[in-house]
Amino acid sequence: MRKLSIYVFSILFLSVSLKADSFSFSFFQNMTDNIFQNRYSAQDKLSHLGFYIDKDFSKISVFTEGSYSYLFENPSLAYYLQDVGLDYLHPVSDKAAFYFSLIGQGVFYRSDYEDFNSLSLNFLAAFKTYLSQTSILKSNYSLDYRSFRYSLFDFVSQGLSLSFDKYFQTRTTLKSEINWGLKYFLHPYSSQEVILVEDSGGHHSGRRSYLFVPRTQFEGQSIQVFSFNGLIAQGIGGNVGFNISGMKQWYLSGENPFTSVEEFYMVENPSYDRFAWAGYQLGAQITLLIPWNIELKIGYTMADKEFPGVESMNLEEELLGVTREDRRRTFETRLEKNFPRFSLFLSYAYVDNNSNDPFFDWHGNFFSAGIEWNMFFGEKK
């Protein structure tokens, strides 16, 4: 079956590539000294190989994208991601338009993470209008459905956002945005539901000895959040851009149904998403165009996040009776150089995460280097 799949895959791949408008290939090599983002810093290297194909049909664009990520030290966490989708833009005047997209996605992990294999469907409707030549109003609605192999995590979520920006002659842009989101877990939880990690190295190998223990008395099945974002951007000359941004998020109802929330580097974890926390985030970023037209971005972010419903534990995994709270400082820098047919990327980030749960008191270094190569088919219009 595997050989047949590879065979069919290769043929279809070539067929599609030749008929598509474009084919894009990318390779990224990532390296970190803290893949699981906790106090037991575990090193790993992650290779990411991806392709993308798209084709326009009149006003509709169809695309498919696949990527395989391999972890050298934790190969049982390797995964393949495939999505296929279409989008459409409908202008209502020369100053306003609707945008719609529908995307289906499958994520397939190897043994350690098979419970999180998932299929999902995402719908997005967006509206953008120029209120004047210097101000823009945007509105988005999104609907996500996600089904996991372990159905406990299945959910439907929806979000609404409204943003407004204004440009001033001082070359300053002000932007504000409000967001509302609702995540509804499709299955009620029971106290019997415990997912154990297939232990590959014990408690101190870099992961807790379990991933999630759903709460025993989880009232309701949904989380509702509201957030406010603000941004000030300033242009300085033709080669420098600077911005300061802030975000504050509140829980309107519900709380996390898991007793533990984890984030891994480059590997998605279903316990952590934008619904997992309340708190604030502040950031500053400078963008510079340096010699040889290399784009340099330097940023600093500080975040204070509380995870409602998640209690901190000591290193013996005993509850401490306080809600988990993390304070994170991130410094990141990124270089990008674009050539006519390919682009090169190089980035580095340092993260310092202080938490009242000692297991999540950590810091880490994250390196990434990549190349993206495009092939074009069709016409030069």
Binding site: S5, V16, Q82, E372, F376, G378
Partner: protein, 156 residues
């Protein structure tokens, strides 16, 4: 036993899912006639202009294609006005405003008495945005990291 069965089914499911994606895409692309463009990118008429944005509009430029983002730009030195064709609206993830400065490299052509430019590269807020390659092939016919974000609707 049930787990082993599920694993096999999942692998089969993965293969079928991938095949389905490609077959669906292949069937949609099969038999499509190429459209004849109204004008080409001409590398011999390339020009670099630095100016101020006067107006932003969304306008159809090619038959049966998504509308394009069009900028009316006033050159700083000469005060000459140009109509700059950026890219399909859904591709472009930056927001322009009247009064912002923009440097454009692109192919110049005249139409109905106005100076038009098909942009190949723009410099904007300290960033260089490549819209076409040096031969004029559009960058929106291909993926990059920015486009991936756009698919989730972040950029529109």
């Amino acid at each position: 036993m049930e787990y082993v069965f599920w694993r096999k089914e999942m692998k089969k499911g993965l293969s079928l899912f991938i095949m389905f994606c490609f077959l669906g895409f292949w069937s949609l692309t099969f038999g499509q006639e190429p459209q004849k463009p109204l004008h080409f990118y001409n590398v011999d008429t390339e020009k670099k202009i630095k100016g101020t944005i006067q107006e932003i509009i969304m306008e159809p430029r090619y038959k049966d294609t998504s509308p394009f983002l069009i900028i009316r730009l006033e050159e700083k030195k000469t005060h000459q006005k140009f109509i700059v064709e950026i890219s399909p609206v859904r591709f472009f993830t930056h927001d322009f405003h009247k009064g912002e400065e923009l440097e454009v490299v692109g192919s110049l052509y005249s139409k109905e008495g106005s100076q038009n430019i098909i942009a190949r590269q723009i410099r904007f807020r300290g960033e260089i945005i490549i819209l076409r390659d040096k031969r004029g092939f559009p960058a929106w016919r291909g993926s990059d990291m920015k486009q991936k974000k756009r698919r989730k609707g972040k950029g529109f």
